[in-house]
């Protein structure tokens, strides 16, 4: 699989050390264009740490390439601008801004040029981009709402839209479906398919195994900071090691 020209995101030997704990241990993954890749594992396995490392929020060793461009010494906001976007477990929307304005933050950057644009006539925001991203997650009608007026599930979808807007190449989703009920979760699966079909690669972390096994093309399994298995969803779900990681190996009494 390596060397695949389709590969967008490639990490090699990502390790993260927290105090004395090795939270990530030489993690290597690949995500291709229009591909949905799952990353699963029990609580505390190091999945979120991995996303933090890849997106520039946790100091790490190892290399990260986005479409051949090395990103490991690039600050977080530059990684986003280069097309590596993420969401957070808890939505993390900007509470003072409407949903559309939340997305707008990702579209037009502030700075001196932005300053001049603000002072002059209102800059033409990339309204179409924002509408498109919102419609991909089915939130067109919520554009003018504030985050605290939305249910937790919708807040997370708005977070996904914020990560999607602009020229996102790879999307890292940290438990986007937690807090959704079964139907919402299935619905989200469809939306995810549509998103991937529009081009970006997706790395999906979730506990909802139905969602992950349904929607992903490939799945990595992480435990104790290491990738312990990978492959097609059907193979992974029957892997004894995976079941052991999730449900615990039977204890001899």
């Amino acid at each position: 699989m390596s060397g695949d020209p389709n590969t967008l995101l490639l990490t090699r030997d990502i390790s993260v050390q927290y105090g004395g704990v090795r939270a990530n241990d030489e993690v290597c993954i690949e995500v291709g264009a229009a591909e949905i890749v799952g990353l699963i594992g029990p609580n505390g396995a190091g999945k979120t740490t991995f996303v933090d490392a890849v997106t520039g929020f946790a100091p790490h060793t190892g290399t990260i390439e986005l479409d051949g461009v090395r990103l490991d010494s690039v600050p977080a906001h530059r990684r986003r601008r280069l097309g590596l976007a993420r969401t957070w477990q808890s939505g993390e929307l900007f509470t003072d801004l409407t949903v559309a304005e939340n997305l707008a933050v990702s579209v037009d950057p502030p700075g001196l040029r932005g300053l001049v644009a603000d002072l002059g006539r209102r800059r033409k925001r990339a309204d179409e981009d924002i509408q498109e991203a919102l419609s991909l997650v089915g939130l067109e009608a919520m554009a003018g709402r504030r985050p605290d007026e939305l249910s937790l599930g919708r807040q997370k979808l708005a977070g996904v839209a914020r990560a999607l807007v602009g020229s996102t190449r790879v999307l890292l989703l940290d438990e986007p479906a937690a807090g959704l009920d079964t139907e919402e979760s299935a619905e989200f699966g469809h939306e995810l398919r549509r998103i991937a079909a529009s081009g970006p690669g997706v790395l999906l972390i979730d506990h909802d195994m139905t969602l992950v096994l349904d929607v992903c093309d490939r799945v990595y399994v992480m435990d104790f900071g290491k990738i312990i298995a990978s492959g097609a969803p059907s193979d992974v779900s029957s892997d004894a090691q995976v079941i052991a990681a999730y449900l615990g190996s039977p204890v001899t009494p």
């Binding site: 609580n43 505390g44 909802d208 195994m209 969602l211 449900l247 615990g248 190996s249 204890v251």
Partner: protein, 236 residues
């Protein structure tokens, strides 16, 4: 152990965040000296149940009774009635030494009894807790809480981040605690098999409600029911 009443009785408990319930109408009873495993997928409401029972979260409805006295909604009242919670971050203080952690329990006779029970901690007394391994921290958390002489012990995500070896060390200690001291224990665990191996009874939560309840031994035989709740394929 002579008590016949339940050490912990939860009736119709609802609780949540920002006024939105995350658990609804939970009924649980745990007899003295027995262990209840509280299971369910992420977000099912296990931690919320424990936090509400321990008074960390205001209950939106229902009652919690520990050792015969009502404790709903106040940490102080819960602790006084002998209901103690070990939270999922273990509730140990990383910047304090092991000895200081143990001293915090206002125990008469010092923390000697805790060391008698967990002699592994003795050589670590002057080490800062943050430098201990996860398993040692969990032992310390249990030791510290035992000094408060709990009648009911709630443990959240007991094995999170612990190595299998450490888990196998700690689980028998819990069993001993239930058998010898008659403490009622509620255990929130992801590792189903391990939880069932030590528990007397198990309850599965899903979407904030109890969906399955039964003796641990039976559930261990028929794991399909539980596995369905975890790996989806839910019949609603």
């Amino acid at each position: 152990m002579t008590e016949t009443t339940d050490a912990l009785e939860i009736r119709g408990l609802s609780a949540g965040y920002r006024g939105v319930p995350a658990i609804r109408d939970i009924d649980l009873r745990v007899a003295a000296g027995s262990i209840l495993a509280l299971l369910g997928p992420n977000g099912a409401g296990k931690s919320t149940t424990l936090r509400a029972a321990a008074g960390l979260l205001p209950a939106l409805g229902g009652t919690v009774t520990a050792a015969g006295s009502p404790v709903t909604g106040s940490v102080e009242r819960a602790t006084r009635s002998g209901l103690c919670l070990i939270p999922d971050n273990r509730g140990v203080f990383h910047r304090l030494t092991v000895a200081e952690n143990l001293r915090l329990a206002k125990a008469r006779g010092g923390f000697g009894p805790a060391l008698d029970r967990f002699p592994q901690l003795r050589p670590l007394l002057n080490r800062r807790c943050g430098l201990l391994s996860g398993g040692e921290q969990q032992l310390l958390a249990i030791a510290k809480t035992l000094l408060l002489r709990p009648r009911v012990l709630l443990i959240d995500e007991m094995s999170m981040g612990l190595s299998p070896v450490a888990i196998k060390q700690i689980l028998p200690e819990l069993r001993r605690l239930a058998d010898e001291d008659g403490t009622a224990i509620v255990l929130v665990e992801q590792h189903i098999d391990q939880a069932l191996s030590v528990a007397d009874e198990a309850v599965v939560l899903h979407h904030g409600r109890v969906v399955l309840i039964g003796p641990a031994a039976d559930l261990r035989e028929d794991r399909d029911q539980i596995q369905r709740a975890y790996f989806g394929d839910k019949e609603r």
